[in-house]
C-alpha cells in the first residue's frame, strides 16, 4: 500500500512581470491516511502556493517533482477531477460569486462530485435535508444559503461557508489555508469541530496556520516548518508550542 499523500521534490513557479519566479523549491512531505499535519512558516515562504498546487490552480506551474494521492498522479488531474478524487481546499480568501445563489452552488458542486464518484445525484429534498443538518452543526443561519456565494459575507461567514462546503463534499484530504485567520474564539471552535467531525482512518488534512490556537482544538499528528519554498524542519505537536514562543528564527538560519 502506497502512502496516502506523498509530495516529492515539488518545484513550482509563478509568472510575474519580471519572468518566472520560483516559489516552491523542492517540497517533500508524506501524510499517511488518517493523520492531520500542519504547515507553519513566515509570510511568503510558499504555504499558500503549496495549497494551490495541490488543488490544481493553473497559474502555478509545476516545474518538477511529483504528488501521489492514493497511488495516483495528482498533478495529471484537472481541478474538478481532484475534487472528485477527494481533495478539498479551504481558501484563505474565499472568492465572491455575484449572481450565483449559494444553495444552488452547493448542490451543483455536491452533485458534480457525486456524479464523478459514481454515486447517485441528490434530489432537492435530500439535498435540503443534508445542507440543513450541516448548517446547523456549523451554527450557520439558513439565510446564508439564499444569498449569493460569499457576496457581502463577513470574514467569519466566508470561512464557515468554506467549512460548510467541505462538510457537504466529504473529501478524504482537506487543505485548510489559514482558515482560522480573522475568526473569533467561538467561530474558531466551530470551524475546528467541523474538521474534527470528518476525521477518521480515511481522512487526512493539511492545515496551514500562523497560530497555535487552532491546533489546541485539532490535536495534530505532525508539524512542518516551511521556509524559502522548502520544508526545513518537521516534528511532533510540541513544535507548535516552541514556534509560538520562539518564532521562526532558529529554522530560518537552517534554511539559508
Amino acid at each position: 500500500m502506497s502512502d496516502f499523500l506523498k509530495i516529492s521534490g515539488l518545484h513550482a513557479s509563478i509568472e510575474t512581470d519580471g519572468g518566472a519566479k520560483e516559489i516552491l523549491r523542492g517540497v517533500d512531505m508524506t501524510i499517511p491516511a488518517g493523520e492531520l499535519h500542519v504547515v507553519m512558516g513566515p509570510n511568503g515562504c510558499g504555504k499558500s502556493t503549496l495549497a494551490y498546487a495541490l488543488a490544481g490552480r493553473e497559474d502555478y506551474e509545476i516545474t518538477s517533482g511529483s504528488v501521489a494521492f492514493k497511488g495516483k498522479d495528482l498533478l495529471e488531474l484537472e481541478p474538478d477531477e481532484r475534487a472528485a478524487a477527494g481533495i478539498f481546499l479551504a481558501f484563505q480568501a474565499p472568492v465572491e460569486l455575484p449572481g450565483v445563489n449559494n444553495a444552488n452552488f452547493l448542490r451543483t458542486a455536491v452533485n458534480a462530485v457525486r456524479r464523478a464518484r459514481g454515486e447517485p445525484e441528490m434530489d432537492a429534498v435530500a439535498f435540503l435535508k443534508a445542507v440543513r443538518a450541516a448548517t446547523k452543526s456549523l451554527s450557520m443561519s439558513d439565510e446564508m444559503l439564499k444569498r449569493n456565494v460569499n457576496v457581502g459575507f463577513s470574514g467569519g461567514e466566508k470561512k464557515r461557508n468554506e467549512v460548510l462546503q467541505m462538510t457537504l463534499l466529504q473529501p478524504s484530504f482537506a487543505v485548510l489555508d489559514e482558515t482560522d485567520s480573522g475568526l473569533d474564539v467561538d467561530a474558531l471552535r466551530i470551524v475546528a469541530d467541523g474538521v474534527n467531525r470528518l476525521r477518521g482512518p480515511e481522512f487526512s488534512a493539511l492545515v496551514i496556520t500562523h497560530h497555535k490556537r487552532l491546533l489546541d482544538y485539532l490535536s495534530p499528528d505532525r508539524i512542518h516548518v516551511m521556509a524559502n519554498g522548502r520544508i526545513v524542519h518537521s516534528g511532533g505537536p510540541e513544535l507548535a508550542e516552541k514556534i509560538d514562543q520562539e518564532g521562526y528564527a532558529a529554522f530560518l538560519a537552517d534554511a539559508a
Binding site: R57, E58, A83, G99, N148
Partner: protein
C-alpha cells in the same frame, strides 16, 4: 452614404406623407461605414440584397405555431392579452384581448410621420409601414399587461410594424414585446410611447428573431411630469440587430430606465443605442446593459445622456458591461455625457473583460467541470441584470428563454 437600393422597389410605390419620407430616405441614404451613428454596426447583411414587397401571408397554422413557441401555454406570460403583428401588419385574427373600460385599441391606415435624418430606420418605417396600431389608455386607468408579438415570415422581404402607445394622466400599462420569425427577412418595428403626467409604462422586450434575420427597431419615448418609462430589452436573435431608443424627459420628476442584455455568438452583431434627453429638472435616468459575446460576435453600445440647461438636479446613471467568452468576440462601447446644467449627478462607465480566473478556479475546485463552471458564471452575469426587469411575469419569461439559449449556444463557443 449608400442609396437605399435594397428597398428601392418598395420606396417607389409610396404616396402621400410616406412618399415624403421615402424621398428623405433617398436623399440621406442608408448609413454607410462613415456614418457616425453606425460607426460600429455594419449594415453588410443588407447590402447587395433586394427586399421585395411582402409575400403572401403565412398559413394560420404557421402563425399559431409561432405564437405557441413565443408564448407557451404553460409559460409565465400565458393568458395575457395578445396584440399580434404578422409580417408587419396588425392581425385581428390572431390578436386576443378583452374589452376594457378606458382602454382603446385601433388600427389606422395612416399615421403622422416625422423626418428624423439621423434615425434612418425610423424613416424607413415612415415610408413603408402598412398600418399603425394605437393603444390608448384613458386617464387614471390601469390597463394591465399586454403581450405584443411581432411575427415575421419570409426571405428577402421587409416588415415595418408600427405601434403607438398613449398613456393618459395617471394611467399605467405593461407591455411585453416579443419579436420572432422564420426566414432571412428584415423586421423594422417602431414604437412610439407617449407618457402623460404621472403615467407609467413598463416595456420589456425579447428579441429572438430567426438567426438569419435582421432586426432594426426604433423606439421614441416622451415622458411628462412625474411619469415613467421603464424598459428592458433582451437581444438573442438575428444576424444583425439594433435597438435604438430616443427618450425625452420633458416634465419634472420624470424617469426613464433603458436597461438591457445581449447574448450573441457566431457572427451576430447586436447594437443597443440610446439617447436620453433630460429637458426638465429633477428627472432620473437609469441604464445598465450587459453583453455576453462568444464566437465572432460583435456587441455595440452607444449611450448618450444629454442634460439641458434647465434640467437641474438631474440624476443619471449609465453602465455598459461586456463579458467576452471567446478570443474573437468584440465589444464597442461609446458612452457619452453632454451636460449644460450645473447641479447634476451623472455617472457612467464601461467595462470589458473575460471570465474571472479566480472565480473559475473556485468553482472547479468544488468539483464542477470547466464547461459547467463557465456556464454558471455567464448565467450569473446575465441573471444579475435581469433583476432590473420590473414586471415579474416578463422577468420569468426572459429567464426561461435565457437559460435555454445558454444551454444551447454557449457550450459551443466557450
Amino acid at each position: 452614404m449608400s442609396a437605399p437600393a435594397a428597398f428601392a422597389q418598395q420606396l417607389e410605390k409610396t404616396s402621400g406623407a410616406a412618399r415624403d419620407a421615402a424621398l428623405a430616405l433617398e436623399r440621406i441614404g442608408l448609413p454607410g461605414p462613415k456614418t457616425e451613428a453606425f460607426l460600429y454596426t455594419s449594415l453588410r447583411p443588407l447590402t447587395g440584397r433586394s427586399f421585395t414587397a411582402p409575400p403572401e401571408a403565412p398559413s394560420a397554422d404557421a402563425v399559431r405555431a409561432l405564437i405557441m413557441r413565443s408564448v407557451p401555454v404553460d409559460g409565465p406570460l400565458a393568458g395575457q392579452p395578445l396584440v399580434v403583428f404578422v409580417n408587419g401588419v396588425f392581425s385581428r385574427e390572431h390578436s386576443k384581448y378583452p374589452d376594457q373600460a378606458g382602454v382603446h385599441i385601433r388600427t389606422d391606415a395612416t399615421d403622422a410621420v416625422q423626418e428624423d435624418g439621423d434615425m434612418p430606420f425610423l424613416l424607413l418605417n415612415d415610408a413603408l409601414y402598412r398600418d399603425v396600431t394605437v393603444l390608448e389608455v384613458d386617464r387614471d386607468t390601469d390597463a394591465g399587461s399586454f403581450v405584443v408579438l411581432s411575427l415575421s415570415f419570409g426571405t428577402d422581404t421587409s416588415f415595418h410594424p408600427r405601434l403607438r402607445v398613449r398613456a393618459g394622466d395617471g394611467a399605467s400599462v405593461t407591455l411585453t414585446e416579443i419579436a420572432a420569425g422564420e426566414g432571412a427577412y428584415l423586421n423594422n418595428p417602431v414604437l412610439f410611447c407617449d407618457v402623460s403626467p404621472r403615467a407609467h409604462v413598463v416595456h420589456t422586450k425579447l428579441q429572438q428573431e430567426d438567426a438569419q434575420a435582421v432586426h432594426m427597431a426604433a423606439v421614441r419615448v416622451a415622458v411628462a411630469e412625474g411619469g415613467s418609462y421603464d424598459s428592458f430589452t433582451l437581444g438573442l436573435g438575428g444576424v444583425l440587430s439594433r435597438h435604438e431608443v430616443r427618450s425625452v424627459l420633458g416634465g419634472a420628476k420624470a424617469a426613464v430606465h433603458i436597461n438591457g442584455a445581449q447574448l450573441l455568438t457566431e457572427r451576430q452583431t447586436g447594437d443597443i443605442t440610446s439617447v436620453i434627453r433630460h429637458a426638465a429638472p429633477d428627472c432620473i435616468s437609469r441604464q445598465t446593459v450587459r453583453n455576453v459575446l462568444g464566437g465572432h460576435a460583435r456587441g455595440v453600445f452607444q449611450g448618450k445622456v444629454f442634460v439641458e440647461r434647465i434640467a437641474q438636479k438631474t440624476d443619471g446613471y449609465q453602465m455598459n458591461q461586456a463579458l467576452l467568452v471567446s478570443e474573437t468576440a468584440e465589444m464597442d462601447a461609446k458612452p457619452e455625457l453632454e451636460i449644460y446644467a450645473d447641479d447634476v449627478k451623472c455617472s457612467h462607465g464601461a467595462t470589458v473583460g473575460a471570465l474571472d480566473a479566480d472565480q473559475l478556479f473556485y468553482l472547479c475546485s468544488r468539483g464542477i467541470p470547466g464547461a459547467e463552471a463557465r456556464q454558471i458564471l455567464i448565467s450569473a452575469f446575465l441573471e444579475e441584470v435581469l433583476d432590473l426587469v420590473t414586471d415579474e411575469a416578463a422577468r420569468d419569461a426572459l429567464q426561461g428563454v435565457l437559460q435555454q439559449a445558454l444551454a444551447k449556444r454557449i457550450g459551443a463557443v466557450s
